[in-house]
């Protein structure tokens, strides 16, 4: 099956800093999403971005499908950004089957 690798596995930032999280995948995908799992365990949709670039406030994401990676940018980080960020993909040949990466754990210190 498709492999999804996220980097870095852990990231510690000072409040106000910027960061880039990466998601690499091993095969062509139909769908790609970024999620934030907050410290209470809730999974929050950030972006649905199978290709191109999207922005939402301090967050933006870019997916280059032909090169099989996606990037999540967090600018001016806040303590509420802490949690785990997951990338999830659906292969072109595997409709309905979503594969998650193991996530990047972000800690933003005040």
């Amino acid at each position: 099956g498709i492999q999804v690798e996220q980097s870095p596995p852990d990231l510690i930032l000072q409040e106000g800093a910027n960061s880039t999280l990466r998601c690499n995948f091993s095969d062509s995908v139909n769908n790609l999403q970024w999620f934030h799992q907050n410290p209470w365990g809730q999974l929050i949709n950030l972006f649905y971005i199978p290709s191109g670039t999207k922005q939402n406030g301090r967050l933006s994401a870019t997916t280059v499908a032909t090169e099989r990676y996606s990037l999540l940018y967090i600018s001016s980080s806040q303590t509420t950004d802490s949690g785990v960020y997951f990338c999830a993909v659906v292969q072109n040949t595997n409709a309905g089957k979503s594969t998650f990466g193991d996530g990047t754990t972000l800690t933003v210190k005040p």
Partner: protein, 110 residues
């Protein structure tokens, strides 16, 4: 009801017992999913359903069964629970490839 609800919120279960986790959505999404998340890891797909009346196996289906009698409900059954099924279980639905998650059920099998 708004979005996806799951019940129970948490459960402690003796090994060998049968358990059904409930999931209901009110968004009329055709596709629904069950995932498990083990401590420190990403989500793994157990079963999915692309539309009412159909189901499919995900990455880790053994020991679990699902049914999809209607659009709104997608119950997950553990016929005879084992300690390795201790996990947090998330239900999701999707439209146009974008997935939306319920709050999760924390299950402990002793």
């Amino acid at each position: 009801i708004a979005g996806i609800t799951q019940a129970p919120t948490s459960q402690i279960l003796a090994a060998g017992r049968r358990m059904t986790l409930r999931c209901t959505q009110d968004m009329r999404h055709n596709a629904m999913y069950w995932y498990r998340q083990d401590l420190g890891l990403g989500l793994r797909l157990i079963h999915y359903s692309n539309t009412a009346g159909t189901t499919g196996k995900g990455e880790v289906p053994d020991g679990y069964s699902v049914s999809r009698a209607n659009t709104d409900d997608f119950p997950l059954t553990l016929a005879s629970a084992v300690p390795s099924q201790t996990s947090v279980y998330f239900c999701a639905s999707s439209v146009g490839g974008e997935q939306f998650f319920g709050p999760g059920t924390r299950l402990t099998v002793l």
